[in-house]
Symmetry: C2
Subunit: 111 residues, 2 copies
């Protein structure tokens, strides 16, 4: 869902991926576990994620600094998930590291 990000600047790691058709159960379990594990890391701000029925997905994780984002990439259990991702879950992915310097939001009055 929405990540209630704090004041700018902060870092966004944009992960774009296309799934294989393989191992939906194991993939779902890993994704939930990675959300949980990321939230325990230093500098964690939040995660937003969505996937189309055709398998294309975007996950954006937000971090206080680029060092925090880099450290998350190197967490042992996360490295294992990345390897299984290449072995089984993904056809292709792109990772983009970006610095967020401006944001605004809108919310319906009755929601």
């Amino acid at each position: 869902m929405f990540s209630d990000t704090a004041s700018t600047p902060y870092v966004a790691a944009i992960f774009s991926s296309m799934r294989t058709d393989d191992d939906e159960v194991g993939y779902g379990r890993m994704a939930a576990r990675m959300d949980e594990l990321a939230a325990q890391q230093p500098g964690y701000v939040g995660i937003e994620s969505a996937r189309d029925p055709d398998g294309f997905g975007l996950t954006v994780s937000y971090w206080a600094s680029e060092a925090d984002a880099l450290q998350w990439k190197q967490v042992a259990e996360h490295l294992g998930a990345q390897q299984t991702g290449r072995d089984r879950w993904y056809r292709r992915y792109i990772v983009r590291i970006a610095s967020v310097h401006r944001q605004y939001e809108w919310q319906r009055d009755d929601s």
Copy 2:
């Protein structure tokens, strides 16, 4: 699908949104038209988009510069879509403007 972004740096506009249940057909028509219209703007690099079945979606548009991203926000037909979005299509959204300074990708050999 994937946006084949060029060399860094470039700008990412991260649009996170929760849909209402309203007007699925009109929303789909607008989304397709905005993809088409964005691709005609100066500095357009690409768009990636995904939406969960529960209505939460991420759209990331990529631009050569922040001025290009700002100009896209002000295109008349796009302003109309933004207004209808607030009137009908969205419960909530967040826009984050970010500078992408690093990227890498991976692709399965057999895909």
